[in-house]
């Protein structure tokens, strides 16, 4: 395992976490500030889908890069 790959995975993890946190802020902001927001359950389900894709993508890529 080389240092370059490890740093790539660290960077990918940080960016993925940032995407998840920004998404969380975005959903809360939309529900709070929109005049007619979509149903909250729909927004949170969509957010859960995004989180699942991001976590899977980061985990799979990290595994491939490090193996």
């Amino acid at each position: 395992m080389r240092v370059k790959e490890v740093w790539y995975v660290v960077g990918l993890s940080v960016v993925s976490l940032a995407v998840i946190l920004v998404g969380l802020w975005f959903v809360r902001h939309e529900l709070r500030t929109r005049v007619q927001p979509p149903p909250a359950v729909l927004m949170w389900l969509a957010y859960a889908g995004v989180v699942a894709v991001v976590v899977f993508g980061a985990a799979r890529t990290s595994w491939v890069v490090l193996s």
Partner: protein, 169 residues
Amino acid sequence: MTATIETTPASPARRRATTVLAWLGLAGRLYLGYTFITAGIDKLPHPETTRQAVFAYQLLPWQWLTAYAHALPIAELLLGILLVVGVFTRSAAVLLALGLCSFIVGITSVWLRGISIDCGCFGGGGASTDPHYLEHTLRDVGYLAIATYLVVVRRTALALGDWLFGHRD
């Protein structure tokens, strides 16, 4: 007790700024939409080539490749059309942003692993002696910036969605 919402009329400068942002949004919608429609049309008739291109990244489990190769061009085409006509613009932009993130991760990971391939973004793909990883990564980051703008700006000009569903906010 009934709640009342007091609204302050927007100043002319603010209205002008909103209009400029909305027209910029239209430009972004058309550019990104056209780009993804083109990418989808280029890949749609050649699922086997797309499958080979995705296989070259050595990222996805092989069992998923055929389904991914069929779904990707359809998704690109549909999301591109939604952007061009301006229906569900922000949802389409979020999905495109996610897709672009995955493309950026795919390209940078093959770059890191020293695999020489063509990205296959607009058809083709597979092994290549002359990969353009930096160029393709920067291009996708640019597309990602446009998609993010479309999510943030909320309203774009000449959006069919406004006429169909009424502008909400």
